[in-house]
């Protein structure tokens, strides 16, 4: 009888698939790998691995402490590898992002609003980063987060470096 082994990737062990072309351009498939992107990123760079109009998926290498960030809409952080602590504070009225801000932006200082709580998430765990909150990631060891959000001023686009081109 078959013993099934579920294969996940990690920063230290990942194997990329790929686009095998019959009659098309591989760049149309925007093919990359989250662990490969995180392995070549600096801590807390927000590198887009998916973009659907204004919406993005960002691959984030979590390592040490992130800046405090603030958001006017819900975001969702899925830990793909490692362990990440998320600390949340409610934004005070004067800390709210300017109207129309999409994605998250730096807060620039310790949050003034009340502490909302914290989450410690490991591989496969999804954390709500609620609207009108400040959050900070902390990872003792390098970890990988996939962030569901909207493109913002700090979203980085490196398609030519991360995607299969031929």
């Amino acid at each position: 009888m078959t013993t099934y082994v579920t294969r996940f990737g990690s920063l230290n062990q990942y194997e990329k698939g790929g686009v095998e072309i019959i009659d098309d351009d591989p760049k149309r498939y925007t093919f990359s790998n989250i662990f490969d992107v995180a392995a070549h990123s600096r801590p807390y760079e927000k590198v887009a691995v998916g973009k659907n109009r204004q919406y993005v998926l960002e691959a984030i290498r979590a390592e040490g402490d992130s800046d405090w960030r603030r958001t006017a809409h819900d975001e969702f952080a899925l830990v793909m590898d490692g362990e990440v602590e998320v600390v949340l504070h409610r934004l005070s009225p004067d800390e709210e992002p300017p109207e129309g801000t999409q994605g998250s932006i730096q807060l620039g200082h310790e949050p003034a609003g009340p502490r909302m709580g914290r989450v410690v998430a490991r591989r496969g765990h999804m954390t709500l980063l609620p609207a009108h909150a400040a959050y900070r990631f902390r990872a003792e060891k390098p970890a990988v987060v996939l962030l569901q959000t909207i493109e913002g001023a700090d979203t980085l686009y490196r398609w030519g470096e991360i995607c299969q081109t031929h």
Partner: protein, 327 residues
Amino acid sequence: MTLLMDTNVIASEPNAHGYAEFTLGEFHFRRDEYFVYVKWPTGSHVMSADAFLRAMQRDVAWNFFYGIVNFDGVVGTVNHYGTVDLFAGRYNDAYRKAEMDHVENFQSENIKATFERMLADWTNASFDPFASPEETGSAFGDKNGSNLAAVTRRRVASRRMVSCDDDEQLRTDATHPINRMFADVAQDSPLVEPEPGFESDVKAYNLFAYLSRSDVTWNPSVVSVCKDSLYCPTTEEYILPIIHGNDRVEWFVQLSDEIIWAVEDRDTGAARTRVVMKPGDVASMPANIRHQGYAPKRAMLLVWENADGALPELYATGKLPSHPVDF
């Protein structure tokens, strides 16, 4: 095209095999022990009953989904979000050239009513169209009871995130035992420590454990919502029972294991690429292709959709390119 304005389902008395036959516009549907037969004014088609029911189950449960649901290379539906095209040979180059293709447009509720009746009547007690082939009995034979609980499953659709208040809740042993192929998936929970008064906004859960308990295959279900950005993960085993034709760009993130995608031109069926996805891989599916996946072992796939209702028109009129990014 004919636009039917009533919701009457035209069904026959049971045929020699115990199954009703159905008429929808100028289409006629019949099944026997092994096969489903579809006829239209300029042609006819035959499909294995199990494959037909698996495809129809997705079409009904997804309310005709985004874009085109090809049951196979000949028959399928196009969702216009209010009306639905039922077609034969429309997206098949050979049928088009032979002028054997046929399309009729129906109000969504009309075609859905007929499909629901057909699915209920043609699914025997032993068969679950949403289950993997190893986890269900036979679809074949003369009519033998029904499996209404399976074919009328509620579609999971989170409004904010699974585990949030008044939202989809976690799966447990009582209702969703861990699938045999995911027995090794960690079932630990994140540490969640809300301060008093913030219990509704400090939320986290184990998505991989949640997916390991899915009792269906190839059935994207919303787990988190960022405006029109929807995470729709699904667990995949064997073959996607439909060939999905896009009306917008969609994205895949391979969360576990491996899926192989056969990608064809949406309108002609000509082969374009083969995409092999391994854990951590991310790929976009352009707005003018159709795709069918093959999963040797049950795999976790994150389907990422943009539910903006304006997109189909923008892509169809060329106001948006069919691929998401130029670089």
